[in-house]
Symmetry: D2
Subunit: 360 residues, 4 copies
């Protein structure tokens, strides 16, 4: 799409008009339509892979050099999409960072309207305290801190721990909709139970406490434990083996983390899923409005991002910008965590998905 040619560009009256526009804080559509309204999404964000083998040592170095405490709040190192000019955004809407907490360290409490989660690719020994409820963090767990809940973290071991933080910071920042408040310097409950109170109340399949009948915009489950995720995926593949419909496509099991009060997404701006491909499986190629960040949890395989194929293995992260082609395949099988901004587009009626035919 090219802009219309508005008469002769040399016309000095036109130059003067554009100058007068600028002086009055006005800006013509016709010279820039193609950029403003492209025929399909043309993101500046690019597909990119970050290697765990690179990330983790850098996080450790930060652990040695940068204290955690009030003001900086978190030792979190954000994925900065190479197409976005250095801002700490994985995509225009999504924040993804590695947070690193050294032995016995405490990240002070605060709260913000931005929705946050954590996903643990390795390690354990940190508790995140969400509105006073201590939540253990262990490999494979997916943990929620929905907007405006006070939260801090403390490491109860002599080893450091690192995990993935995901938030909607870029979207909230762009739309000027965020609020932030400092809380306690120390966590408000230093207990270290294996299971949080929120799980004890809410993480029973299909059961809702009568004391919690009001629907909530975000899930009341603070921790989705690996044992459940793993079992759900294992059963899907077993059902497929037995000849019953259960998987997304052959060899591809997947679950969406959901809010038990509504069946919807865990948080109003963030979707989170876990995918398992059995050895030899491949997904169809998709394009979707909206972006997502993936982390390989286990195994290894290949991801096609736009026109490039990357081999990825445990801990590696990659971002899929809006409308970029993507597919997965694996010889040995692999497990992947994914989060995205899909609820935003579904709620705003802007969602589109395109699945290439003639594959699988």
């Amino acid at each position: 799409m090219t802009a219309t040619d508005p008469g002769t560009e040399q016309d000095p009256r036109l130059d003067r008009l554009y100058a007068d526009f600028a002086a009055e804080h006005l800006n013509p559509l016709w010279t820039q339509l193609g950029d403003l309204m492209p025929e399909r999404p043309a993101p500046r964000a690019v597909p990119h892979v970050w290697r765990w083998s690179t990330l983790y040592p850098l996080a450790r170095r930060a652990g040695d050099l940068v204290p955690v405490g009030r003001g900086g709040e978190r030792r979190a190192i954000a994925l900065a999409n190479p197409g976005l000019g250095g801002v700490p955004y994985a995509s225009p809407t999504l924040w993804a960072a590695i947070q690193y907490l050294g032995p016995r360290e405490v990240a002070p409490e605060h709260r913000h309207s931005q929705n946050a989660f954590r996903f643990v690719v390795e390690g354990e020994g940190v508790w995140t305290v969400v509105n006073g409820d201590p939540v253990a963090m262990r490999r494979g767990d997916f943990l929620l801190t929905p907007g405006w809940n006070f939260h801090g973290h403390h490491n109860e071991t002599d080893s450091p721990m690192a995990w993935l933080d995901g938030l909607d910071i870029p979207l909230v920042n762009y739309t000027d909709s965020g609020f932030f408040e400092f809380g306690s310097e120390q966590v408000t409950d230093a207990a270290t139970p294996r299971v949080s109170r929120s799980e004890r109340l809410w993480a029973h399949p299909g059961l809702r406490p009568l004391s919690g009948l009001d629907d909530t915009p975000n899930s009341p489950i603070a921790a989705y434990r690996w044992e459940h995720t793993d079992a759900a995926l294992r059963e899907q593949l077993a059902l497929e083996d037995e000849g019953h419909p259960a998987t997304v496509e052959p060899g591809h099991a997947a679950v969406r983390y959901s809010n038990p009060t509504t069946g919807g997404d865990v948080m109003s701006t963030v979707r989170a899923e876990f995918h398992r491909l059995r050895a030899g499986a491949r997904t169809r190629t998709r394009r979707e409005v909206g972006s997502s960040v993936w982390q390989v949890f286990d195994g290894e395989g290949e991801v096609e991002l736009g026109d490039v194929r990357y081999r990825v293995s445990t801990g590696d992260l990659f971002v899929v910008p809006s409308w970029a082609r993507w597919s997965l395949r694996t010889d040995r099988g692999f497990d992947l965590f994914r989060f995205s901004d899909q609820p935003v587009f579904e709620r705003l009626n802007q969602s589109r998905v395109f699945i290439e035919e003639g594959q699988a």
Copy 2:
């Protein structure tokens, strides 16, 4: 409220008018307003208790005398509310029956638009096959057969088994909205797995299969297992002990069985809950629009129904008609299953609850 006195009752013109009304299939409001529109619900259904010690032997005698098979379909013995003139209804909306299946018997498959569930107060060894998915029945389990799913039952043991069937038959019958279809003479899948396929796909806390993202009006979970219900209740009481909000009122834990795709009731016309009162606990006294049927699952205690108190223990059933006062108390603690027609009134915007003050 008394009807207006329409002039002098002896007026022969009035008699003739009423006769002419009748001849034309007309009927005046003013002579019967109080019955049609009482100041508060005035159900014909009455509170009543049925004893397990009476029910079970009668069911066993039916087992000896009445075959199960095509036509009669089920050896189900319904609670007939004494106020309703002999119809097999626990209340105007609810059907509750004891179904009895002898050793090695099979109840043939059929389907109907009426929503059904089963709750098991004792025994095991029967599988209910719901749309081809074999679902084991064991003590404490709550099992769904939402409308229009083919289902049959088969007893794989040398012992009989009995359980509670609950349906919306009376409401559907009254409103002329039911459909029924015969199916296979034998169950379509005679396998006897411990866990149904529906559970393998759906009964993981807060996890939704990506192959099942469309919401369904009724829950896709065929069996809510006792181990989960028991754990949820136990945790509520433990949280209460630790000083955290979790129970409905002191000493009263309760869960609602829910549809994981929506967070709502398991079926569009039926609510199901499980209540546990610890030793020494009592509930507040309530009145609610709509009726419910309770079965004591374990322990014993006292139920106040209207103006009468009854001692009830394991297996006993009682019905609470609309707007009847009810409360529970127990010295030794007890567990109760409950089902009701509450979704009907909530969906039709006719729900009201009155909780008496100054108690508990």
Copy 3:
């Protein structure tokens, strides 16, 4: 469907079993399955037509003989479906009555949880006062009194007036969910404006007052005026003439009265529609779960009800029981008002519609 033959009926043990069942308020399913759960709805209610030429004189006679006032409350004469044994119900769920108010009479205020509306087939000069808002009643108007709003009527003319009252009394009575309260002996606001306050606030197409942003279960519009209904129907037929989709089927225009806060039905239990068939048009034949009552507003035509065809003209009323076949046809064109219990079945997920093919 026939009940299973439970052994030999003469078996005295069986007789004793059934007697013991009865003594314990129990009732077997197997002897009555076909009645309880027929293969398709088998209503006791029958199709029936009531003639305006019969109804109106009877109402006038009631006007001469029966006073209106506290206690009887309303001079309303209900359609009593011939299949329902004399109860004043048009169907198991719907109440339809002709209400007659003599010159200068007042029907006192009261309120009830039952939802009510009025539809005016002829006349004017009565105001219904709904929660203090005086609402003029004129030919073709559809007027709402949703549950728990105080309301009374007063005739400001020297002529009587009669209209159709529709309510959900039978459903509410059956389900024991109704509440009733007496109010003022006289209407609380005797003003006689042409337009109610509710219309002034709410009856502007697609416009919602900022002072009324909370959704309400029932429509806030007290009167749907004939001029709007007529215009909407006229435009549908004109659009059809111009070749654009607008009608339900050829020559059949129809509108549903809706709640502007949700787009849904005007009241939670009642659907109301207005249908216009142009000269020579006919509808397809339908069966629907749920019942409806129709009143011819203008013109004349033929209605097929089950296996019988009736000629109907202005003022005539007919009832269509659940799952009964119905269709309309007309040589000269006619207008019909309809109300039904459809929202009940849609909300309870029990709705079914069957449209016969190969017609129209």
Copy 4:
């Protein structure tokens, strides 16, 4: 909020760490937390007023110099918020432009997923053709072009016409979610009816065509006519005069344009309202998450934006960035059109409103 001091800034190891972060497309949170997550929204966009007396002559000059046609598509001159560095955005989410169409000109058809509307502050004689439905544009009308509807405009007079275009271009562009497609060079239906087909089908208060029972994410009403808006506002003030609740606050009438199929906003990303303040009235001071653009339609008054008060009169536009204080007051009374991104924040559960107390 200030960033934590990470050791000594001079530490060369830290410099190297930050350089290594940058090389790996990583970016620390702790050095920029305050900017990313401020305590309350801190928009770059600023409050600003654009004068109609300046805008219109510039639009006319563009009319003389810049052709309308394929490629440039529209002669639209966008408000460029002075805080946003020259991009043609009124706020980060909202596009607002003056579109100018000369005598007999045609703006060719296209469609895009971005939602669009037009509001007419003066003039008439242009038809916008939306999916083949010709919609007349007249002073005071609010006209919709929801996403993915083909639309073009043609001026049937010998005078130019200008109006306000509003879209969600900035939000869609930022989130990479837009699609665009060229259509016909000429409008597909050149008819010039006073009323569009969409209005004939849908713009009847509380009436829904039976041929349109499926809810739509955007309103099916193509034009909300001034006569209805004006009447609704006039009635609110009259009801206030009569002592009844109807206005937002004393002397402040307002309507929200709504989707009759849901009662919700006209489009999934855009809210539109019309406000009328009677002479002497003032609003309370508000802060809201999200931004809005206002245009004075008639009269004159004063707007407080942040700390500055501006006198505004017919045609003037102003933007209120997120969380900026705003209030209105007027001596002589004025009418204002408003549009905003509020549905975005409500749907994403990020909405907040703060109303200052002790005023009004």
